[in-house]
Subunit: 298 residues, 2 copies
């Protein structure tokens, strides 16, 4: 059995054909052209699917189902994108249209949830009964997968960890996301008065400054890993995942981030619970493709 | 089909016979005598089960399965109480023993989880696809039931909402439980210098003081409901339950608690999510019996 996974991004439409274990056999990518009418974008979604099938050496009749990951608000029952800000979509019945065009069952998932499912199916959390995938990007994405199923549209990024703290985009104060997103880290770097020689402020090189002994940078990293540990321990105490996988730009710091993080999590978690493995995501952009395909399999 | 539910409490052993919808047909209660050898307690568990069956007008051959709710650390696979502090039990293979004695399949659940399942099966959250049962007692118990299944042993009471805040029994600072348990409220009342005419400090009458215009008491209640709303909104944003049911002593305040709480939750929740019903638990002690019986049904 083979599946198509499609990642509907603001920049590119990516498609991949996978086997039932989530191995990619062929893929393709075309520019989304987000400002175009949705019919044109839809035609290119079909095109990218066809190209991926061609690249895999299979034909469309070998495909059992198609899964799509899309940002925005989704009606899962009907496979409709209710609203997508980047693409200007409203009530776009994309699953039905795909189904009509290709005569293959199509399902729609949230893109972040699909990526989380991908990491569990074929990446960092492969084989885990329960995993939480945390994406440290513009926001803090939290994807929860238990017993192979996505827990849809969790917004644990908007879990207050510092009541009365920093204002968050959601209107609350002190959210996990306000401190632990890349945006939150950059804010902390700026507040600490740390900048590059050219005056820019950067959430990555602050780790380099800290390594070179910059005390301000070390303090920023220390507070950042403490806040991140705080949010993770909240989730561990409540949900007890086997694996926590970190993705997004900040996770590229690898052990410079993971090592202090694991230590703080261990010290703070509820006694008697099993310590989860805390690792980096391994699939990169492919997580979304694979997860979309795996959601079609379900 | 009929089921026996048993609630193994530190004070009483309670047993009930239910039909498959969780209606209690007969029940019984005997003192636990917690300091006795575990064999004696075990004999009284059998006795209470037999009495409940007798009270229901059925006979033991009508019973399909037995569920037990016990505090302490549990091995669910083997139905063993690994450790129970109140009863002094260690590695007590209670499910096997019940099974041997009565020749009826027996399962073991955490007592708080069983009570949550009871509220969903036959109480305040009846018919809900997803519910979170919050017990505001000595601690803050959080029972999560999704699609009729218990999410076992969640410790979301130990979710930090005020980083660096009050010390919690778990070793963290600023836990939900440290502010929102009955113990936490009493601490706030004490810190505000509010006491009864006889000098005692009380987490319930502080609501009466507030009603009579006591400004200090109003401030305590306002902060309490804000902290409680904060914890609930964290869980709502992350898990999106249909119903949140509040139990434990403080929940007896009813609308004095629920009304400001609903208002604060509504103001703070992530936009676009459905607002859960926030209600009181309705089954009292029977929740544990019914939930234990329903866990046996599963």
């Amino acid at each position: 059995m083979y599946y198509i996974g499609i990642d509907i991004g603001g920049t590119n439409l990516k498609a991949g054909v996978t086997d039932e274990w989530g191995n990619i056999l062929g893929e393709s990518s075309v520019p989304t052209g987000a400002s175009r009418p949705q019919k044109e974008v839809f035609q290119d979604i079909l095109l990218s699917a066809e190209r991926a099938v061609y690249a895999s050496g299979l034909s469309m009749k070998d495909i059992k189902a198609i899964g799509m990951g899309s940002p925005g608000k989704i009606d899962y029952e009907t496979g409709t994108v209710i609203y997508n800000n980047n693409l200007g979509w409203k009530n776009f019945h994309i699953s039905d249209l795909i189904n009509d065009a290709l005569n293959i069952p199509a399902v729609l998932e949230n893109d972040a949830d699909a990526a989380a499912l991908g990491e569990v199916a074929a990446g960092s959390a492969r084989g885990a009964k329960s995993a939480i995938i945390i994406t440290l990007g513009t926001g803090v994405g939290v994807g929860i997968v238990f017993s192979g199923k996505i827990y849809r549209s969790s917004e644990f990024g908007h879990m207050v960890i510092r009541s009365g703290g920093r204002e968050c985009t959601c209107g609350r104060k002190g959210c996990f996301e306000a401190y632990c997103s890349a945006t939150g880290l950059i804010r902390s770097v700026r507040e600490a008065g740390i900048s590059e020689p050219d005056g820019t402020v950067n959430g990555r090189t602050v780790f380099d400054f800290a390594d070179k002994g910059n005390v301000k940078a070390q303090k920023v990293i220390d507070e950042y890993t403490s806040d991140l540990a705080c949010g993770l321990v909240n989730l561990i105490n409540g949900l007890q995942p086997e694996v926590i996988s970190l993705g997004g730009g900040i996770a590229e710091q690898g052990e410079r981030l993971l090592s202090p993080l694991r230590e703080k999590v261990r010290a703070e978690m509820y006694k008697g619970l099993s310590e989860p493995r805390i690792v980096n995501c391994t699939l990169g952009y492919k997580a979304g493709l694979i997860g979309a395909a795996m959601s079609a399999k379900q």
